[in-house]
Structure formats: structure tokens, C-alpha cells
Symmetry: C2
Subunit: 354 residues, 2 copies
């Protein structure tokens, strides 16, 4: 019921920031009169928590999401097997932020004209991703709605339910200045920034070569599940907070699970910006803040760990890097600062100081 702050990130592509914020505040008004006693406070709003009736220790964690306009690229490319994985993995990551283990997922697939082959490819993508995450594909709805969707268009959304021992939900108050921020890599846009990306890369270019593949394939790169990586890090490090870097990027998602007393400081020189982001930022002449608010810029998931555990954490997962630190936050300082890298000669890196 709460729109993800991601909407703000699309401002430059014509999506209305003010409308998104107003919708959020109206939702709060609308729903403030009553609260089910089973509901628990959720941290950061990545997933909603609900106490299992008759139990003290465990809660269900649920999250709903859609694929967004990434599906318009998939539809244009007639590639239907990947969006299911994007969606399932997105949902898995969202509830992972509160340490939940997935139980089951349900999809909602809506089209103007039902093509069974297409529908089966979409569901296959959901199913295979569910299987990899050890999550049941428990049900779903396929809706054929002539008049609502244009020919060839479809929408895909889903809901995941997981389970967590409430004692194991990260407590933002454990986050301390000096903690390290571990970043897990995103090789593509995951599931955010596509309204802008579609403005900057036209369908005519989807089959053109780019960075050893095509623009289309680069744009449709799978949103990975960070489940196994996070579990591997948790085996060797205390994890004080986590964030899934969805719409709103590092700037909006990292603060969702931080206390007000600290800020996250990223050093962009510590990781490589994947070429697709470089290309998009150049084409759109995106300034520093727009870049980090619209795109994940190569970091798909963050974990905040005590500095003493940081080396073990990054050794546990190939590609994991220390990308920044937690510092004390004073007065009206922003909750996230990204220090741009100097112009680098490394292929794929670029000057983000503009």
C-alpha cells in the first residue's frame, strides 16, 4: 500500500515525484484509523511483518512488487522468460532485508490477449526462480483483459511471503559509526530506472552490440537474488542492517534501515560502475544525484557490518566489496553521501563529479 520511493527517481523521465509523495501521505491518512493486532512494526518498509497467531517468536514477512516498465523492453524483445526471475528475486531480496527466509510466492500476470506460449514462458521464469530460492510457487492469477492492455503488452506483479524469527530481525540501533558497508554487485539495472532507460536507449538499438552483448540483453540482465550471498556473509559476520537497492538507489534505500544518528558514506572509487550505467549517464547527461537516485549504479544490496568483520564478509562472497562506511550524522547532513571517483582510466569507470 505504500509506494516505493522509487517513483522519485523517475522524475526526469516524466514520472511525478510530488504525486508519489502525496499518494504515500494519503495512504497513511487513509489507513491510520485501525491496525490489526498481528501487525508488527516493519523496518524500512521493505516487507510487512505479521506475527504468526498463537506464537511469540516468529513472524511472516510479505512484500508485493511489480516488474515495472522493464516488461516493456521484454515485450519489445519478445523475451518472456526473464521477467519472472527479476520479479521473484526482487521480492526475495526485499524480505531478506529483515532476514526473512522465503516460503512461497504468487504471481499476477495480466494481458490484453492471452498467448499460452508467452504466459508459459513468464510462469516458467517465476517457477525457476522460485525453485532456486527454495520458495514454493503457490498460486497466481492470469487475467485476460481486452481493453486494458494493448496487444503485445502485459503486466507482471507478485507477492512473496517469508518467515523470520523476530529476534533475528536486524536492529538499526546496532549500527555504529565506523561500521563498514559491504556492497553486493548489480551487473545491470535490476528492476529500476527503466522508464528513464527507455527514453535514453530506443527499441531500434536493442539488437545493437554493446559491451560484448546487445543493448537489449544488457537492459534485460537478470535481477539477482542476494539470498545465498547474504546467508554466506551472515555465517562469518554480524550484520547490523541491510538494504535492497531498488528505485531511489543508494540515496533513498540505504537510509530506510539506518538510525537518524548516522550517515552512510560511499566511496565510488571502491567499485566499478558497469558500462551500461556509464552509457546511460552520459546519454542523459545525468548529474551526480540523479545517477544515484535513479539507478543502483552497480550495487544491488548493502550490508552494514562491524569493521572487524568486514574482511571476512567480503571474502565470503565473490564480487562483494567494502564500498563505504558509517559515520556520525550531524544536524541537517544528508543520510547518504556518495563521494565521486576522480576521472579514472579504467574501462567502464567515469567521472561522476559533474
Amino acid at each position: 500500500m505504500t509506494p516505493n520511493p522509487r517513483k522519485d527517481a523517475y522524475a526526469e523521465a516524466g514520472v511525478d515525484i510530488a504525486a508519489g509523495n502525496e499518494a504515500v501521505s494519503r495512504y497513511k491518512e487513509v489507513t491510520q484509523g485501525w491496525r490489526h493486532p498481528g501487525q508488527l512494526d516493519a523496518i524500512g518498509g521493505f516487507g510487512g511483518l505479521f506475527r504468526i497467531p498463537g506464537e511469540d517468536g516468529r513472524a511472516l514477512v510479505a512484500s508485493a512488487d511489480g516488474v515495472g516498465t522493464k516488461i516493456l523492453i521484454a515485450a519489445e524483445m519478445r523475451r518472456y522468460d526473464s521477467v519472472g526471475g527479476d520479479l521473484v528475486n526482487h521480492c526475495v531480496n526485499d524480505i531478506l532485508v529483515v532476514n526473512a527466509t522465503p516460503l512461497f510466492f504468487l504471481d499476477y500476470f495480466a494481458v490484453g490477449k492471452l498467448e499460452p506460449q508467452v504466459a508459459a514462458e513468464v510462469v516458467r521464469g517465476c517457477f525457476e526462480a522460485c525453485r532456486k530460492n527454495n520458495c514454493a510457487l503457490l498460486g497466481g492469477e492470469t487475467a485476460e483483459m481486452p481493453g486494458l492492455y494493448a496487444p503485445g503488452h502485459f503486466d507482471l506483479a507478485g507477492t512473496i511471503v517469508g518467515i523470520v524469527d523476530t529476534k533475528s530481525v536486524p536492529d538499526p540501533n546496532d549500527v555504529q559509526p565506523g561500521d563498514a558497508i559491504v556492497g553486493l554487485p548489480a551487473h545491470g539495472l535490476n528492476t529500476n530506472g527503466y522508464t528513464l532507460a527507455r527514453k535514453l536507449i530506443s527499441p531500434e538499438e536493442y539488437h545493437a552490440r554493446f559491451d560484448g552483448t546487445t543493448f537489449g540483453d544488457a537492459l534485460l540482465a537478470e535481477h539477482p537474488s542476494y539470498y545465498n550471498d547474504v546467508r554466506a556473509i551472515q555465517r562469518v559476520a554480524k550484520v547490523n542492517a541491510m538494504s535492497h537497492i531498488t528505485g531511489g538507489g543508494l540515496l533513498e534505500n540505504v537510509p530506510r534501515t539506518l538510525p537518524q544518528t548516522v550517515k552512510a558514506v560511499f566511496e565510488q572509487s571502491r567499485w566499478q560502475i558497469p558500462p551500461l550505467f556509464v552509457e546511460l549517464c552520459k546519454r542523459g547527461n545525468l548529474q551526480h544525484e540523479e545517477r544515484y537516485r535513479t539507478f543502483n549504479m552497480g550495487i544491488g544490496y548493502t550490508l552494514i557490518v562491524p569493521l572487524a568483520d568486514a574482511a571476512r564478509a567480503i571474502e565470503a562472497v565473490p564480487g562483494a566489496k567494502i564500498v563505504g562506511w558509517i559515520e556520525a550524522r550531524r544536524g541537517d547532513e544528508p543520510a547518504v553521501i556518495v563521494h565521486p571517483a576522480r576521472p579514472l582510466d579504467t574501462s567502464g569507470s567515469f567521472d561522476t563529479s559533474g
Copy 2:
């Protein structure tokens, strides 16, 4: 992941029966290679069952659904407060078939251009219905997707999760010839048959008077929650099976929870067909089978009870009626027979023998 058989009911409005059936069979192929050990066999497919980890006795029950093309009428009428209730109640009823008590619901609201006032009305409808069903509105997703939805259009879907003691899930094998079928009333189309209804009643007529209201209001009549009615009946009667009469009508939904050895025989003279159905059937010149496959025809939910309990059951709920019986089924008899009423002089009834 399994499309509801409702699609078949829309054949006459241009929705493809064969495509729906083929999608279902392809989904089965796609998903047959693996099954999560927590999944339990679901009865009739109204909701999926998943065992609560570490427990023997209880299962979660989940169902995903959309509002379907009823939303196009709501959008045309600019009435946004009712579709949320339709959706939540639909979901509540679906899991009620396996005797589940709702825990929480999550919505998915997608638009081309986000209007906060509209979004808030839609969410308000979901929230109020959740509250009435004692179900948390635990989360949701609002997606603004320029390019996918036409201006003024939106889609609304949702997922419900409930809980059930697995011993209390109705066992179809308890259904016996001689049992009575108790019907709970639907005053309108609930959430099915709208693709056809929109062909038969044009938007220009939505504000025209009809049956003490307008066509538009009659078409948007709320899909009720049958939760309290069902619980009231269960207090006084054994309930051997239940069905939520969604797309596919009595003909397709009642057999979903019956054993192969019996058939359901409905006597249409035992209940009043609401005027909107009479009007739609006349306009569409719908024949007997089309009527009962496309629309609920005034019965929104059925409960099968031992004959000895039937009188108590209908006394427990105003408007509940005995609408038919269970009989032994032989050879290739259909699973459902609806005996039409003779032409009646009662307002709102009509000859269904055509």
C-alpha cells in the same frame, strides 16, 4: 499461476477459451519438475496451502486475484472507492472455501499516470474491506508505468494470506447424495462476467435509471464477503464442501470441491434471479448454459450441508436459501445441472429454458 476457469465464461465476448485451457496445461508442464515440501494439496484450487514450518497442524492459505474488467467500468464512472472492496472480499471468499481465516492482504495498484486522490480512494477501499474482514492491509505496491496503461486506466490486483487448521479443511469425500446445497445471495455480478456485461451495456447507459438505481451502480455493486455468513452457518451445521462462485459460474465452480461420484442439481425456481442478470441475459440472448457459466446468476457462494442441518443453516443467515441437492452421478453425466424455472410472473424472474 493457474488461470481461473473464468476465462471460459467470456468466450462470447471474445476471450479465448482454448488459450486459457492451453495456458493451464502449459503451467502444469512448466511446474511439474519440482514442488516445495511445504506445499499441501489444495482442494479445488481456490487457495494454495502451505504448511507452517515446524508445525503439524496448521497451514497458510494464499490466493492472488485481480478485479478484472470491472475496473474499466469503475474508471469510466470515476468511482474508485469500491473496487478495493470487491478485490479484498473476493480474496477472502476464495480462501474461505478451505475454511481459512484471513490474516493479511497486499495490493498491487498500477496506473499510467498517478493521481494521488484516485490512488488513495482505491487504497481506502482495500483498507476498509480489510478492516471489516479483520485482515491486515500489510503492504502493497503502487506502480506508475507510463506507456503500459492508457490515461485514466488502472489495474488492481491483490494477494491474501490466511490460516487454517488442516483438520478443519472440508473433505470432499464427506459430500453425500441427499445433501442440500445452501446458496448465499449475490445481488450483482460480484467480480465476474464484466467483459461480456460491458459489451451489453454501453458506457452511455451507466447513468440511466435501472431497477431503482443506475446501470452503472448496479454493475459496480460490491462483491460481498461471505465470511460472517459462512461462520454463522458453521456454528449450526456441518459443512461438507463450499464453493465461491466466481468466473465459470455455478457450472464450473461447484464441481471444483465435489468428488467425482456426485453431481450438484440446482432448482432455479428456488431463488430469485436479480434484475441485472435478467437484463443481461435478454440483451445478449444468452442460452441456459451461457448464463450459468458466465454469471453467478444470483448465487455468490455455496455450502453443501447434510439435509438434516439444512433448515438450521438457512435460518442462520438472512437471504440464504436451499438452492439444490447433491445426487449420485452416473457415467458421463455433467457434474452440475441447473433445472430452469418455468416462466414466472414474479418481477425479476424469467424463463431460462431457452
